[in-house]
């Protein structure tokens, strides 16, 4: 899978946020977008995910393996998203949160089994029946990532996913995210303010996102 942005231009009737942005993210690669607050990093992610407010217009193309997804509704783009808040569904327990993301084809008990197996793999199987409010921030962050990965996305967007974690947790969770993304060979586009978030050997695009750095 390759995520490509081709001549992407986003603007409202008042101003143009950015023009003709083009770059590619290959399978298993994490590209980090760096830039000052308000430059439109999260807006770009919203546009790619399909959640951009209708006041903005988007031109150009966002392709996943050659298919332009810009005209598809968000639920059919198969682009996973991870925010700085874990956003686990508070009305569902942990295994149900994971099962929520599984494809419908997997029915009945198999859903629960798959969710429990995922929890076991990341060493959190004891938490399966807990509610999201009953577990720690670090555990919630891991489950949130696993939930997204269980939906088998073709690309992943990370909107400052580590910014609310403390220093130790941040480092642990960062390694966990990059390992999982590389393991599953998913292209990922990340927004961050922190240079430390750039994975080793990963690409960073600095505002206005033409200048490339390799860490």
């Amino acid at each position: 899978m390759t995520l490509s942005l081709q001549n992407l231009t986003i603007g409202s009737h008042e101003q143009c946020l950015f023009e003709n942005i083009s770059f590619q993210v290959r399978a298993g690669e994490v590209v980090t977008l760096m830039g000052p607050s308000g430059c439109g990093k999260s807006t770009l992610l919203s546009a790619i995910a399909g959640h951009l407010s209708p006041v903005f217009s988007v031109q150009g193309a966002v392709t996943l393996n050659g298919l332009n997804v810009l005209n598809l509704p968000p639920d059919r783009r198969r682009i996973g998203i991870l925010f700085q808040d874990d956003l686990l569904f508070p009305h569902l327990n942990i295994w149900e949160n994971l099962a929520f993301a599984l494809p419908r084809a997997l029915a009945g008990q198999k859903r629960q089994d798959k969710a429990l197996a995922t929890l076991k793999r990341i060493g959190l199987s004891k938490l399966s029946d807990k509610m999201p409010t009953e577990i720690s921030g670090g555990q919630r962050a891991r489950i949130s990532l696993m939930r997204m990965l269980l939906s088998q996305p073709h690309a992943v967007l990370l909107d400052e996913p580590f910014s609310k974690l403390d220093k130790v947790l941040r480092s642990e969770f960062r390694d966990f995210v990059f390992t999982e993304l590389t393991r599953q060979q998913i292209p990922a586009l990340m927004v961050s303010h922190d240079e430390h978030d750039i994975p080793v050997g990963g690409l960073a695009l600095h505002w206005p996102w033409h200048q490339r750095d390799k860490r």
Binding site: P74, D75, D85, A99, F100, S151
Partner: protein, 571 residues
Amino acid sequence: MIRALYFITLFICALPFIPGLLGLILPAFSWLPSLGMLTPNVNAFTLLASWPGLSHSVLLTLLTGLGSTVLAVLFCFLLLRQYWNSPYWQRIELSLSPMLAIPHIAFAIGFAFTFSSTGWFFRTLEALGFNTEGWFSIIRDQYAVGLLLALAIKETPFLLLMSIAVLQQIKVTQLLSVASALGYSHKQAWLKVILPQWLPAMRLPIFAVAAYGCSVVDVALILGPSRPVTLSVLVWQWFNDPDLSLLPRAAVSALLLLSISLLILALIRALEWYLLQYCRQWQVAGAHAAQSQGIGSRRHYLLYTPFVGVSVMAVVLLLLWSFAQRWRFPDLLPTSYSLRFWQQESLSLLKLSANSISLALLSSFCALILAIVCLEYRQKYQRGLPAWLIALPMILPQLSLLFGMQISTYFIPGNWYWLWVAWSHLFFVFPYLYLALDGPWRNYDIRLDQCARSLGFNGWQTWWRVKRPLLLPAICLALAVGISTSLAQYLPTQMLGAGRISTITTEAVALASGQDRRVSAVYGLLQGMLPFIFFTLAIAASRYSLRANRSHQQKRRANADDIIAAKPHYR
């Protein structure tokens, strides 16, 4: 002082429950010493059970109570799903207050003018070439369809308004983004992510709607079936029976109404538990493929139009009928207009308005003082009013509670009708007013008080000079809520006033089933206008207070700037 007032509030607001229940249960067992009934027995129960139309009345009550609630909840959820966070939502939110300001009775009269067999809807059909003679009309129909629909349409804006605070607590936009990234369409995401969080948080407003739906008398008298009537109307008719020896039968039926209301609340709670807790597999069964119809397909602006349309139509028809001199069926508009009926009723209108307004002002100002005292007490001692005290007057059938309250007043000598009516209004106004102030009081930054106290203000000065100006807009609006609640009270005025105190509302209901639509329209329109006037005054007062505060601040800032600017080094 504040502690004493807090306990007085508890006393005033909790007291009616005791006589309310005792006055209901004891007469049901035929124990009414004031009427010479001193031997308890179950004759009244037998009498009620043998009433031929009872099962039909109970069924109608279940149907209207449960049906109107389920429909209102469904309408509300569909509207939220369609419009929440869309550019159209702003307009919906703006339309809610005027729609809520229309009292149930004015709305019911206007609804009847629209959908009766000679109403505007049938006039339009006739104008389009249909012959509507003998067609089914939903006004006073035997299945209570009109009553059910009117209640559902009238309660939907209330549920929408209550939903705003609930949805603001839920991270709707972000959760929907996550759900759509996991493959769920907008509709599925609302159903599986938002509904399970929204529904439990809406329990109290939904209970209030259900309790109102099954115990409503005034609207049922205007729109409901007449043979047989709903149980609440039957209780009301029996309660007004001139033969006082039949009062135990009325008490038993009021007890039955209370039981049915509680049963409906239990059913709603059970349904919620079954859907969201017991049988929750559907929530995690995965996303349906290819249900989404593409971006922007959910912006159908027509869905909300019927709700605004019916309310606007009701008001317009009240206005037209009140000025109509001659309006024959099937003419779409009156053929001649006149002020005759306004002039004819002017003296009576003035007197009734004075009664309505005095009662509303008296009960609302008392309730306001008590509510502020309770909120201040909570802030100071971290102990709020018990939740049941706020909830019960809203979710128990008014008729059952008032029945007991009135029976209790029989034991007190003297004709204190004004006092009893004002007390009952206060009892029903207080919860609404308290809830209207609860949010602003919680949001008030307590550090402002601490700051003022550190500057040398005493407690009262701090409240008057810091807190009051900041919370004045909320106080004005809460007062308007209280006044409009009081203005709409029909049963408390009729029952505790023993028919000796008339208001615009009681007259509007009495005239609604009369022969002359024009007189009925005059009263209905005025009943709708009074709360509207108070809401307008409240909004104007709150804006004025905001502007006054701002100009005061600006003035002070300008003066400070002058002082600073006068120093040579600042130039």
